[in-house]
């Protein structure tokens, strides 16, 4: 009963480094999302995917890339980390039924120094 699993939970990066946040779900959901959460700002959509091989930009995509080679996995890549990318990142998924309900991972806290 894992649901949505994110790794790592915490990471500190230096400016200019690269890293990938991993997200996997075991619910066979087609739709997957990456959000970032900043204090007092709610959640902002970075990228989303409606199925394997299909991705698109959300509200704040700059500085990030994604891929969706399988239904289960939706990694988020930061190529050149900047302090502005210090945030908590949440991966989420949903099934095909149009309820709007998302299932969230527990988050990945990233600090860029």
């Amino acid at each position: 009963n894992a649901g949505v699993t994110q790794t790592p939970k915490f990471r500190i990066l230096k400016i200019g480094q690269s890293m990938t946040l991993q997200c996997t779900q075991d619910m066979n959901h087609n739709y997957m999302y990456w959000y970032r959460q900043d204090p007092g700002m709610g959640l902002k959509l970075i990228y989303y995917s409606v199925g394997a091989g299909i991705t698109d930009k959300g509200e704040v995509p700059n500085g990030y890339n994604v891929s969706r080679s399988t239904t289960e996995d939706f990694p988020l890549r930061l190529e050149l980390a900047a302090p502005s990318q210090t945030s908590v990142y949440f991966c989420a998924s949903r099934g095909g039924q149009n309820t709007g309900e998302l299932f969230f991972g527990e988050g990945s806290r990233l600090t860029v120094l």
Binding site: L43, K44, Y48, E101, F104
Partner: protein, 117 residues
């Protein structure tokens, strides 16, 4: 365009007293509205949802919300607060209503609920 405004960034109540978290929405069509809760260092969990059925929606843990179209509001209430209710609460609107299958959610900025013993 869809958006939500949470009118209070922080709400403090005593245990056993009522909770009211306020949310106003903006939508160009019949919206789908949600309340999510986030406990410290956890992901978000769905509390309740409104999808154009009954205007009074009951959720988990004794929470409920009433959709009022005339006031464009979707306030979250609970008759009696419990210590375990201390968390951050997000009001959310979805673009599902205009026939989109995307299911993009637009989040409010959150209301931090503190419950005093």
């Amino acid at each position: 365009a869809q958006s939500v405004t949470q009118l209070d960034s922080h709400v403090s109540v005593s245990e056993g007293t009522p909770v009211l978290l306020r949310c106003n929405y903006s939508s160009s069509y019949s919206p789908s509205l949600f309340w999510y809760v986030q406990h410290p260092n956890k992901g978000l969990q769905l509390l309740l949802k409104y999808t154009s059925a009954a205007t009074l929606v009951k959720g988990i843990n004794g929470f409920e919300a009433e959709f009022k179209k005339s006031e464009t509001s979707f306030h979250l209430t609970k008759p009696s607060a419990h210590m375990s209710d201390a968390a951050e609460y997000f009001c959310v609107v979805s673009d599902m209503g205009r026939g989109s299958t995307l299911g993009r959610l637009y989040f409010g900025r959150g209301t931090q609920l503190t419950v005093w013993p």
